[in-house]
């Protein structure tokens, strides 16, 4: 999945139906975006329970406020912001920045190298993981991340470079990491 599903847009009719609370349209929209939303929430919260809360609350909020939206092209971008905010809320509710290590694996990859990366990601603090994931996996710019987090662009840049360095260092310590070469590039 190289193209981000959040880049999909909604046509005017679909947006109108969402504003009228049409359940069938809501389900269609949900099916179009849920894979991307789930993946994002899972990575930001670090556990399935947190991802469930973030995705559920995110879609509910997006559907309830769809009437305020006037541009269907912005729906995906908007939904992504809501999901990120919800995921960060999950951390706030937990009362600390670092997420608990996930009780079960949130990947379905049998490759141990991916598991190493997964372990390292789950050990990061919520903000570090957010900046790393939004930039490197979601392709967001530092401007977008900074505006989303209510911080400065330099905060985002510093956080990203520090987090990447920490991940590389941690991967080098992991016994299975075939990502070592890549991570040292």
């Amino acid at each position: 999945m190289n193209k981000n599903a959040f880049d999909q847009s909604l046509d005017a009719l679909c947006l109108k139906r969402l504003a009228k609370n049409c359940r069938r349209t809501q389900e269609q929209v949900y099916r179009s975006y849920v894979d991307a939303a789930w993946r994002l929430a899972l990575r930001l919260t670090g556990c399935e329970a947190g991802a469930w809360d973030a995705v559920q609350e995110g879609f509910v909020r997006a559907f309830r406020q769809a009437g305020k939206l006037r541009d269907g092209n912005a729906f995906g971008f908007w939904l992504r912001r809501i999901i990120v905010n919800q995921a960060m809320d999950v951390h706030r509710v937990r009362g600390r920045e670092s997420a608990e290590p996930p009780p079960e694996s949130i990947t379905n990859a049998p490759d141990p190298a991916w598991l190493d990366l997964e372990t390292v990601l789950s050990g990061l603090g919520a903000h570090d993981r957010m900046v790393l994931w939004l930039h490197d996996a979601e392709g967001m710019t530092h401007d977008e991340i900074a505006s989303l987090a209510g911080k400065t662009v330099s905060w985002s840049k510093t956080r990203l470079s520090r987090t990447r360095a920490r991940v590389r260092e941690a991967l080098n310590r992991e016994p299975n990491s075939s990502l070592r070469k890549v991570s040292n590039e």
Binding site: L42, V55, Q56, N85, S183
Partner: protein, 156 residues
């Protein structure tokens, strides 16, 4: 070197099948999780308004004796904050675009947190400065939207 860790290709478990039914169920009932947060923000906001009003009254009654009167920076920040509150009150009814809805929701949330802290430490100039900056940012976001709405209406 945008993605040296290849995060884009990191596999994830698929979304659970019973997620949609739970969303449907949540859509069918009024939001219960949100209410306490808005309620607590409203309580915090009214608390801070009461504190601000009390401080202003204090300043008016006994000039030179309160902390605010002794600290012109604090007084300025409070006055600016009150001015911006008035501007925002008039702006909050406008139509918003997607980016603004979320960033304003985020800022409202931050404002709630600041107000909670201010309720504890009403004389802290730094907190008032942060509040004023945040309000100014919100006002300019609303202003940007109003300008865009006006332009859009004018084009019909």
């Amino acid at each position: 070197m945008n993605d040296p860790l290849d995060l884009r290709n990191l596999p994830s478990a698929p979304p659970p099948a019973d997620l949609w039914p739970s969303i449907e169920a949540a859509l069918d009932k009024p939001s219960r999780r949100r209410a306490p947060r808005y309620l607590s923000m409203a309580v915090a906001a009214s608390l801070v308004l009461a504190v601000v009003a009390a401080q202003f009254l204090d300043v008016a009654r006994t000039p030179g004796t309160s902390k605010a009167a002794a600290n012109p920076e604090l007084q300025q920040a409070r006055a600016a904050s009150a001015r911006l509150e008035r501007v925002l009150r008039a702006q909050r009814d406008g139509v918003l675009d997607a980016t603004s809805i979320e960033s304003l929701a985020w800022m409202e949330q931050e404002l709630g947190w600041l107000d909670v802290q201010l309720a504890d430490r009403p004389s802290e100039a730094g907190l008032w400065r942060q509040r004023t900056n945040l309000l100014a940012e919100m006002a300019s976001e609303y202003q940007r939207n109003n300008w865009q709405s006006d332009l859009q209406l004018a084009s019909y």
